[in-house]
């Protein structure tokens, strides 16, 4: 198989997490809502996972609402907040994930975009410009999935709170990669996704302060304090819990490991002369490197890299397959041509320096090949 450099799209399931899940896919069966012993064991497993997730994010377990994933958590946040859509507005950053931007467009109230600067950061000024007396909710993601740029959520939350506005942050990408706390950042709500931190797909959470007036999007059962109907996905939730526990244990170790690799890669790529790294001037996720290659088309780069055994992407998996330049880079005012040449490398715990070296060689080849072709063409 190819070398996997696409951890921001999804991560392989961690062995220990897999082990924790297995009993719940085998001998331990039952519906957590059932009152008999089988059901009670399932219920206990869910509550333990809730504690584990809460512990990683510095929240109380009673604030954790399990969902089927990050997309559902973002939908729940935006569409499940009770508001009078005729008179109220929400403000979202221009670089949010589609699972936040699209529900925001569907919710029926006015949506204001919060601009980002050339490095992909929301500034206090742009935030102030986007909110007014009618604003009820602000959502700014903690770390961007494409560029890895990390927002100063503490500061933004402070500003938003001063205006008596609810503040939500999509923490799917930052969770397990850098320290990030629900309590310390003083946000009101936070989205998490299990499969971005070596947990299984099919589980996520909205951590939400009890003071928010929320209602369920799914009807038909009182699970998750009435905010999420449907039989709980117990194995996935157990795996998510374990993923959170391991992430808490290994947080620094993991970050250090990928940072060394990422920095080495970045340094070498910069030597090539035609590479421009996005969000380079600001704090980024330690595993993420998104860059453009001047004079290249992103699709060609992806194909050439795939041919050489590297699994990378241009940006978000959820919008991959589209040829438009990413809305994130657009919002950062990256010129179209450079934006369409974007490659995102997102590293994980199993990646090695040898892989990085091979990747650099491959990039040199691809760029060199094309350069010599150009030069040959010029000589003719």
């Amino acid at each position: 198989m190819a070398v996997y450099f696409d951890h921001n799209a999804t991560t392989p399931l961690h062995e220990k997490i897999f082990e924790a899940m297995q009993p719940y896919m085998g001998s331990v069966c039952g519906n957590p809502s059932s009152l008999h012993r089988f059901g009670r064991l399932q219920r206990q497993a869910i509550e333990q996972a809730r504690e584990q997730v809460a512990a990683l994010m510095g929240a109380q377990s009673s604030q954790v609402i399990f969902t089927s994933g990050g997309t559902e958590a973002n939908n729940l946040m935006v569409k499940g907040l009770s508001m009078d859509t005729a008179v109220q507005r929400i403000a979202v950053s221009a670089i949010e994930h589609m699972s936040l931007l699209q529900p925001a467009a569907e919710v029926g109230c006015n949506v204001d975009q919060i601009a980002v600067d050339g490095q992909g950061l929301v500034t206090q000024e742009s935030l102030k410009q986007a909110i007014n007396k009618e604003t009820v909710l602000v959502s700014v993601m903690a770390a961007n999935n494409e560029t890895g740029a990390v927002q100063d959520i503490n500061k933004l939350a402070e500003e938003v709170r001063a205006h008596d506005i609810w503040f939500h942050t999509d923490a799917s990408q930052i969770a397990g990669k850098l320290e990030f706390s629900f309590e310390k950042t003083a946000v009101h709500a936070m989205t998490l996704s299990s499969h971005k931190l070596y947990g299984p797909m099919g589980a996520g959470a909205l951590i939400v302060d009890k003071c928010l007036p929320m209602h369920s999007l799914l009807q038909g059962g009182s699970q998750e304090k009435g905010l999420r109907a449907g039989t709980e996905n117990v194995p996935a939730i157990v795996g998510f819990g374990m993923a959170a526990e391991l992430a808490a244990q290994e947080l620094i170790e993991r970050a250090d490991h990928v940072r060394v690799l990422r920095d080495a890669l970045e340094k070498e790529l910069m030597q090539l002369g035609v590479v421009k790294v996005f969000s380079q001037q600001v704090r980024r996720l330690p595993n993420t490197l998104q860059f453009g290659v001047q004079g290249f088309d992103g699709e060609t780069l992806l194909m050439e890299l795939d041919r050489r055994g590297f699994a990378v992407s241009s940006g978000s998996a959820c919008t991959s397959g589209k040829t438009e330049p990413s809305h994130v880079l657009k919002a950062m005012a990256v010129p179209n041509q450079l934006a369409t040449s974007a490659i995102r490398v997102s590293l994980g715990r199993a990646n090695t320096m040898a892989e990085i070296e091979r990747f650099i060689e491959a990039m040199k080849q691809i760029i060199g090949l094309s350069n010599s072709a150009v030069m040959m063409a010029a000589n003719l």
Binding site: M25, C29, A203, G220, G221, P235
Partner: protein, 408 residues
């Protein structure tokens, strides 16, 4: 207790089923770092392509069991989400044709609560009463249809009493009036044969964990010809043809596919075995005094038997039967002490509704389990009745309905 495992005997297959080992084996191929783990939406590398191919293979298996085209299968996080998507999605999209919906009082909460939500949004909902045997009277359904009716939602097999509705006849009646027909088939897929390429059904909800697949996984059948259109309920990314966004859990989808594939192969022999077990259970209990089967006995899914033991309080009976994992009704409402709304809708009085037990049998239930069950149930009911003053009065020939209870 089951002698081998020293655990209670599991007779709650309608609540959830254990995952079949063969299903787990398929799922494991997509779990772990040595496995195929890509995001099926990733278009730029083989991790993504391989995951996507697995998803499409599973879609084919799901479609095959129910006679659908794979392009008609939309994966969701479960039957609850499928019901929500079908009912709210169809009602919202077709609001111009009207705001009236027909359903039945014995539907699952996911259907009833979705309808209640629509009522809050200004829709009108007719909740049909079933007949005493739990089945719908087609004439009553037809009479409830109006020019502004856009949707009829009737479940195929009831989760508590197991009765099978005649969805073909109901569907035909809907077609005549050009009304969209949604069927909650969470309890019937893999248990009742069906062919959606011929059935007049527009939307159908499925669950994986009710037929030995994983929890957190379901699907909605959305007919293509004629095309049924829905308003998406989950946005962001445009997965599943825009009808359901969110990263697909590859291993769960694969598990659902394998569960449906196995069900198709084994349904016929499995049903025969389950009917024998059900008959064995009923034969072992039917000579007791004052026991009643809830729901039509014959038009019933193979693994279900719902019985009321008159003059015994259901909760006490459940407590006395600690060695059996059974329930008094739906798991989703089991935390409440209210009598089953399904049994109330059949016209059962509170006492009978309160004294009901749902036995649901499945793939791993043995004849020995049923033998043990019969023994436990008979002795528990006898013991509880011996303690019951109501039972004494009944035995003395006093008509309990004639008694005026003093308030105190």
């Amino acid at each position: 207790m089951n002698d081998k495992t020293n655990r209670p005997i599991y007779l709650d297959y309608s609540a959830t089923t254990p995952i079949d080992e063969r299903v787990v084996a398929e799922m494991l191929k997509y779990m772990g770092s040595d496995a195929i783990f890509g995001n099926p939406a990733s278009r730029s590398h083989s991790y993504g392509w391989t995951a996507e191919a697995a998803v499409e293979q599973a879609r084919q298996h799901v479609a095959d069991l129910v006679g659908a085209d794979p392009r008609e299968i939309v994966f969701t996080s479960g039957a609850t989400e499928s019901d929500n998507l079908a009912i709210k999605g169809a009602a919202h999209f077709n609001v111009k044709s009207g705001k009236h919906i027909i359903t039945c009082k014995t539907e699952h909460k996911a259907v009833l609560d979705s309808c209640r939500q629509l009522e809050r949004e200004g829709y009108e909902v007719t909740y049909l009463d079933p007949e005493q045997n739990g089945l719908i009277d087609l004439d009553k359904l037809k009479a409830a249809m109006r020019d502004d009716t856009t949707l009829v939602s009737i479940m195929h097999v009831n989760n508590e009493i197991g009765v099978i509705q005649d969805i073909e006849a109901i569907g035909k009646a809907c077609r005549q009036r050009k009304i969209i027909f949604h069927v909650d088939a969470a309890q019937s897929a893999g248990k009742v044969p069906m062919n959606l390429s011929e059935l007049p059904v527009d939307l159908m909800s499925f669950s994986a964990h009710k037929i030995y697949g994983p929890k957190g996984m379901g699907a909605l059948y959305v007919q293509r010809k004629p095309r049924v259109r829905l308003e998406a309920q989950m946005h962001g990314g445009g997965h599943e043809r825009g009808m359901r966004s969110g990263t697909l859990a590859t291993h769960q989808i694969v598990g659902m596919g394998e569960a449906f594939r196995i069900a198709k192969e084994e349904m016929a022999t499995e049903n025969e075995r389950l009917i024998n077990l059900r008959n064995q259970l009923w034969d072992g209990l039917k000579d007791m005094e004052e026991v009643y089967v809830n729901g039509d006995f014959d038009q019933r899914v193979a693994g279900n038997l719902n019985i009321s033991f008159n003059y015994v309080e259901g909760e006490s009976l459940l407590m006395a039967l600690k060695d059996l994992a059974i329930s008094s009704g739906s798991a989703c409402t089991s935390a409440s002490l209210e009598p089953s709304y399904v049994l109330r809708a059949l016209g059962r009085n509170d006492e009978l509704a309160h004294s009901s037990i749902r036995f649901s049998m499945g793939r791993y239930t043995t004849s020995k389990d049923i033998e043990t069950t019969i023994k436990h149930v008979r002795s528990a009911v006898e013991k509880l009745r011996n303690l019951s003053p109501l039972w004494d009065m009944y035995k003395d020939g006093i008509d309990l309905n004639s008694i005026k209870w003093a308030a105190h």
